[in-house]
Symmetry: C2
Subunit: 126 residues, 2 copies
DNA sequence: ATAATACTTAACCAATCGGTAAACTGTTTC
DNA sequence: GAAACAGTTTACCGATTGGTTAAGTATTAT
């Protein structure tokens, strides 16, 4: 989840599109790295849901849930809608797709490398 | 990257298969949440690589790289091979595939929900 | 044998994280 | 209007993270 290099650098100058995408990946993968947050997302996949209902399965306090939701919201994975005293959370699939695409792209390269190695070994053997 | 709930719990008893998978996801997504580590993985996709060579593009110290590699290794995404005084790192695609599968599964549910909503709206309109 | 190289370990530091309890802000219900 | 409910904010705590420098361990080169 690192943003700047080396103890507070990168003075918010320009912040290229590439940086934006990279830091969104930081946030998304960081958000996914906690089991409670993944469970919250899985729950939200079924339907929109109020904050209390989201927290009900877990043995943690309301503020803790609130923090998890803030992390998820900051990553763009969810958004909120206020309805009276209830806040309802909803998923944003597009953001998850970006993360999936990063992984899929990487894996394609990785496996290509493995295929190349396999081919090399195959040829070396003959 | 949380392991135990609520300040040191879970006395290492049994640790079900589900927990193992979940905590591997914690570790993998946690590892992917840092841009330097993602860059290291991207570099490794091209070929096996020594530790110094891996660190060369980044303006951080050797111990910092060593720590990143330990995180990656703990997640199962890479492994090391010692050859003399050099240590060579290699990728483990299977672990990345697990993460991708989790995301793909989730996204399938998410989008199914969105499709259902779209259909509902469509029917409500007519 | 000495020196340089490649890397890790140890000790430290500031910032972040995941949790808590307490206090606060709205909204609904009585 | 008072009480209950839904949720957030604030202030705090201990553990973890990402970095540092300094020292240590092998291995290779001179």
């Amino acid at each position: 989840m690192t943003i700047g290099r080396k103890h507070r650098v990168r003075s918010a100058s320009r912040s290229s599109a590439r940086d934006d995408q990279a830091s969104q990946l930081d946030a998304v993968f960081g958000a996914l790295s906690d089991p409670i947050r993944r469970a919250i997302l899985a729950r939200l996949a079924r339907s929109e849901c109020s904050v209390t209902a989201l927290g009900q399965p877990f043995a943690i306090s309301a503020p803790a849930i609130s923090k998890h939701l803030r992390v998820l919201e900051a990553s763009g994975l969810i958004s909120r809608r206020k309805a009276g005293r209830n806040h309802y959370c909803r998923l944003h699939p597009k953001v998850l797709r970006h993360a999936e695409e990063w992984i899929a792209l990487q894996r394609a390269f990785w496996e290509q490398q493995f295929d190349a190695l396999a081919k090399y070994l195959d040829e070396a053997q003959s």
